[in-house]
């Protein structure tokens, strides 16, 4: 600055006064105020008195004095509400000089920029956190889908096995029915179905022939246990033997005939029974038998 002409130096002084509100304090090593001046009021520093312990009024001085180096710089120190100063300390023989230069405008500009930067950084952190949360949820969902897919596959396999078993049983039933139908239609034995009231509601032709009835008689309900075997009906036709035994039956023409007879419960219709009869003798008249 030495080679600057006087008007320039004066202009710089005015500019500094206007923009930076320079203020100063001179403080002893014991922290007592020796001298002060400049725009201290602008920095919120008032009621200063000679020889006062300046640390009581100026908090940022606490712990700093005596200065243990030739100079110290504290940038952007808030000295009053919404007032900031760059504070310079430098040591001379007479004590420590403290220079305050207003930094409020600088702080405002920086604050706006910094606020924006940090807001963006915080938002980015939030998004990262949300992203991580979503990723974790997605991973859990995938795991769950995987587990459920596995369970579903196992269920499908089980159902396929059950379906195959069902088909096998259905086929076995069809085969069984076919075999029974051929037996039912054959002339080997008489077969009849009857209910718990003694009504015979179905029989094959062989049984009808053994007792001399027609299919029409069967349809009309003429075949009952009371008609064809009164003795069996009396003791309880449902207690009829499950093993073949000889029983006396009454034919439609009232002649007696001995039949080998057995019954079994009808599994698909509880309460009903199925009977099997094999003829081995010629019919004889009731009168001849009595």
């Amino acid at each position: 600055m030495a080679d600057l002409p006087g008007p320039i130096r004066e202009f710089i002084d005015v500019l500094t006064d206007d923009l930076l509100a320079p203020a100063f304090m001179l403080v002893s090593d014991e922290g007592r105020l020796i001298d002060w001046g400049g725009a201290l009021f602008s920095h919120g520093l008032i009621d200063l008195k000679e020889n006062m312990q300046v640390g009581n009024e100026v908090p940022f001085l606490v712990g700093l004095l005596p200065l243990d180096s030739s100079s110290v710089f504290l940038p952007k120190v808030q000295t009053a509400e919404k007032v900031f100063a760059d504070v310079y300390f430098f040591r001379r023989a007479e004590g420590t000089w403290i220079l305050l230069l207003d930094a409020t405008d600088d702080v405002k500009k920086r604050q706006a920029l910094q606020q924006r930067t940090y807001d963006i950084a915080l938002r980015a952190a939030e998004l990262e956190h949300e992203g991580q949360t979503l990723y974790d949820a997605n991973s859990r969902l995938r795991e769950r889908v995987k587990e459920q897919t596995s369970e579903l596959s196992q269920t499908v396999v089980r159902l396929q096995q059950e379906l195959a078993e069902g088909r096998r049983r259905e086929q076995a039933l069809v085969d069984s029915e076919t075999r029974f139908r051929s037996l039912f239609d054959s002339k080997v034995m008489g077969i009849l179905y009857f209910d718990s009231f003694g009504n015979i509601f179905e029989s094959n032709d062989t049984f009808l022939q053994l007792l001399g009835y027609s299919r029409e008689d069967l349809t009309r309900g003429l075949l009952t246990w009371k008609q064809i075997a009164p003795t069996v009906a009396e003791v309880g036709f449902l207690d009829a033997p499950e093993t073949l035994s000889q029983k006396e039956f009454t034919r439609k023409d009232q002649t007696q005939v001995s039949l080998l007879f057995a019954t079994a419960p009808q599994i698909e219709a509880p309460g009903n029974r199925i009977g099997f009869a094999i003829g081995f003798s010629q019919p004889k008249s009731t009168q001849a038998g009595s």
Binding site: V62, G63, L64, K76, V77, Q78, Q114, L122
Partner: protein, 168 residues
């Protein structure tokens, strides 16, 4: 009257200013206002029979030790390291700031505050990390500037430690 300088150290938006406001003025606001430079607050506390004025230097956030200006630390009798429990990286940052503070101040008392303890569902610091730090004989306090949890305890614990050193 004894005056003690305490520095608040930590990354940006960890809640340093909010902790000071909660302690000094019992005020909390959700809105985040970044700190530029340093703001100094005062509060007088009584520990035992001794009244002490705490000068709380709320420094602007520093993410690395290089961001932390040593001149701000001059003359501090203790410091509070503040991390945001919902941002794990801020914990690693205070570990590095502590080295810088110790280099500047020597072995003065300090505490680690895990702030925002009210945000439990967003908490990122687990017991394993906490235990690793406690093995260094650091005292850790969970704080919430929002609810006030641990705040008074943090400042008073540090004051007690500083006074022990002062009296010792």
């Amino acid at each position: 009257m004894i005056q003690k300088k305490i520095c608040m150290l930590g990354s940006f938006a960890v809640g340093k200013t909010s902790l000071v406001r909660r302690f000094v003025e019992s005020i909390y606001t959700d809105k985040y206002h970044t700190t530029v430079g340093v703001k100094i607050d005062k509060k007088t506390v009584k520990v035992g029979e001794q009244e002490t004025t705490l000068l709380l230097w709320d420094l602007e956030g520093s993410e690395t030790e290089h961001d932390l200006r040593k001149s701000y630390l001059r003359g501090a009798s203790g410091y509070l390291l503040v991390a945001d429990g919902t941002r794990k990286d801020t914990l690693y940052q205070v570990l590095s700031l502590q080295l810088r503070a110790e280099e500047a101040l020597g072995p003065v008392p300090f505490l680690l505050l895990l702030n925002k303890s009210d945000l439990t569902d967003m908490w990122e610091i687990d017991e394993r990390e906490r235990a690793a730090i406690e093995q260094k004989n650091w005292k850790i306090i969970n704080t919430s500037a929002k609810t006030g949890q641990g705040v008074e305890d943090a400042f008073l614990s540090l004051t007690e430690k500083m006074m022990e050193k002062h009296d010792g």
